[in-house]
Amino acid sequence: MNVDVDVLVVGAGPAGLAAAVELRRLGVGRVLAVDREAEAGGVPRHTGHTGFGVRDLHRFVGGPRYAAAWVARAAAAGVELRTATTVTGRAASPAAGAPAPTWASAPGPLAMALTGPDGLGTVTARAVLLATGCRERPRSARLVPGTRPLGVLTTGALQQLVHLHRQPVGHRAVVVGAEHVSFSALLTLAHAGASVAAMVTEAPSHQTYAAFRAAVAVRWPRTRLLTSTRVGAIFGRQRVEAVELTDLATGATRRLACDTVVFTGDWVPDHELARLGGLTMDPGTRGPLVDQRLRTSTPGVFAAGNLLHGAETADVAALDGRHVAAAIRDHLAGIPWPARPPLPLVCRPPLRWAAPGAVAPGAGAPPMGRFVLRIGELRGHARLEVRQGDRVLATSRAGRLVPNRSISLPAGWRPRVDPDGGPLGVGIA
């Protein structure tokens, strides 16, 4: 199943499908979107709540309908879609004795290996878009000690069990985290008939909208929100029996009985292909470093969606996809890749990262005309300041800055960037 295409899109979620559709609309010939799951559509396939599609499809629908809408658009646009197929990385075989080239560093056209029910294959492409998304850090990566019983999940696993497999989960759950997705986990647990003993966050407050929190407090008054609290350990033999809670202010610990623990948020991009390709990585987002046209460090390789910013909503990922299509078309038309690496946009603490994480002078605006940022601690009504060396390029009002929530930095200061002025910095004024 060797194929030769104009563009290979890795990951048929909102970002990948939106990019593929837009590429076809721009007149690109062969666009192949590959997804390792049996069904295309990405994470919205198993997200039960509504609110999808506002900014990209101008609708307000549930996740599965939203995913189906993008799959239908891709089919209508003439995108070749291959599911249950994994892009495994390297296609080039190394010359004897030489260090093996990565899929992105091998000479000649980009070529990537595939595995699917039809067998092995190689896709040769003039451009590759990585749209591999992000996932939640599991319990192990958060180093939560204790025993290893059944009943420890992430929101992603929980939603698939409940919405794709229609399974009951447990009687009594503890939700770790109190950001948007944590409230989504709470809805899924309620839908599956489980009560939520507590939502636990190490932060001094929850990180979702006040309205969401208020609605939950009214609907499920017994669900406690425990702030400045850590889940210090998990107990249980076969099945979870309890968690240990540590009050971060006093150090006091206590046990809370439960049979299910759901770890929510704390996103990490699925960057395996980007890393294996040897792309320059962004130490903040842990995704590939891209400029505002979503170009990576390797000519012909682009990235979009939550691989760059875990996790924005699906419509934001889709708008990334629509945005990157023009850059891909330009690359196919022979417009050269920038000779100089872009200027990094470095975040000063408590800001954690910005996406895109670099600026190519003169290359236009980023998706939605703004950079997306995250902060590590709560700051009330702060102003963001962009600098290049000693020069302040812009300050902007940013409102209340909440950890784990999207912060928007308008990109109007780009014309004032000096191409020879060195790295850019963004911080709180």
Partner: protein, 469 residues
Amino acid sequence: MVGAAIARELARYRLDCVLLEAGPDVGAGTSKANTAIWHTGFDAKPGTLEARLVRRGHELLGEHAPDLGIPLEPVGALLVAWNAEELAALPGIRERAEANGCPDVRPVALQELYRREPHLGPGATGALEVPGEGIVCPWTTPLAFATEAVAGGVELRLATRVEGVHQSPDGHELATTAGPVRARWLVNAAGLHADELDRMLGHDGFTVTPRRGQLVVFDKLARPLLRHILLPVPTAATKGVLVAPTVFGNVLLGPTAEDLGDKADTASTAEGLAGLLAKGARILPGLLAEEVTAVYAGLRAATEHADYQIRVHGGQRYACVGGVRSTGLTSSLAIAEHVVGELGRAGLPLHLKPGVERVRMPNIGEAFPRPYRSAAAIAADPDHGRIVCHCERVTRGELLAAVRSAIPPRDLDGLRRRTRVLMGRCQGFYCTGAVASLFAEASGRSMAEVLGVPPGVRGGRPRSRGATP
């Protein structure tokens, strides 16, 4: 591990043999959680039975692993000293290695050390190379032994705990949780509980004090950070914390060494993990920038003695094989050879059977061919091209083969040890539902049973539209 190896050895003879296991699976007790090192025995106490059996076991496992399908990689080890005191201990370690039949252990100059391990943390003062050390799969190994034993006619009874032994002139009458078992000869390879069983037989030679070892497994993207097993200089108390590649392509950091009273306490602790990460940061600083994939803890069957506790009581037609610590993964085939030889000398009739069937386990090692990248395997069965667990690239074909194998898994943990499923970086974010559903369907279990859902959970109403299971 040890029991399965002995059963495999006994299966070569005309004997009616039953293998009892208290746990739900082969190798699911103390065997499943260790550092997975293929030891040379270079640092054992010379002259002990352990030193001899580890040396012989290294040879036997190296010889049989390829045929049995046990992933084993002879990556070699570098033993690194980090201060003047540790540096001064190196010549003694080398002498001991020589006494243990490892004449190839040699000093490595610092320049060579950093050339061979460029990501090693600064501040090493010296090193020894132990070329014979390697890494091996701790899960396939006991399964391969037990599968070969079963193929040779041994009857395997899982979830069968021995609760008492009555001795009669005919032999031993065992009371178990699954009914009585009568045997003329009895081999005790009960691991952490070998001392308890030994007392039931009237002996009082040793007491098992479980020594917990916590381990941290790092993401596969950390694998390029090292080429060898990086060993510390051992102290009187412990072999210390090592950093090693695994046969699954990850990097392992550990173990701790904590003496416990509880033979079931396999919990990790915040202090234990913090201590390991601090040591890891010194040995291989780049490691801490990578994600942690798994954390686990195992219990070693340590005793008050510095050697294995292996005794054959001929008059009683009983063999005790206790006190086998972390070296048991390497030495188990040699222990089996030794114990069965001793049993023969004690009067167990050993008549070879003709044509014992050999088995080959499906490979789950990263360094050997796996179905997802084999055109031939996928052509033979398209399910080998359907990857279900994306992080570990485990195919539907592999999962179904495990369920249909001679010793099928009884739970998701058993499926994990046979296939690597669910043990990758996402820990089931993507595939928990798909794997549980496939396992439930293929093994005739309910999803609730597979997932350990407590009884009486009412569940929700199906609501989602557009999604298909």
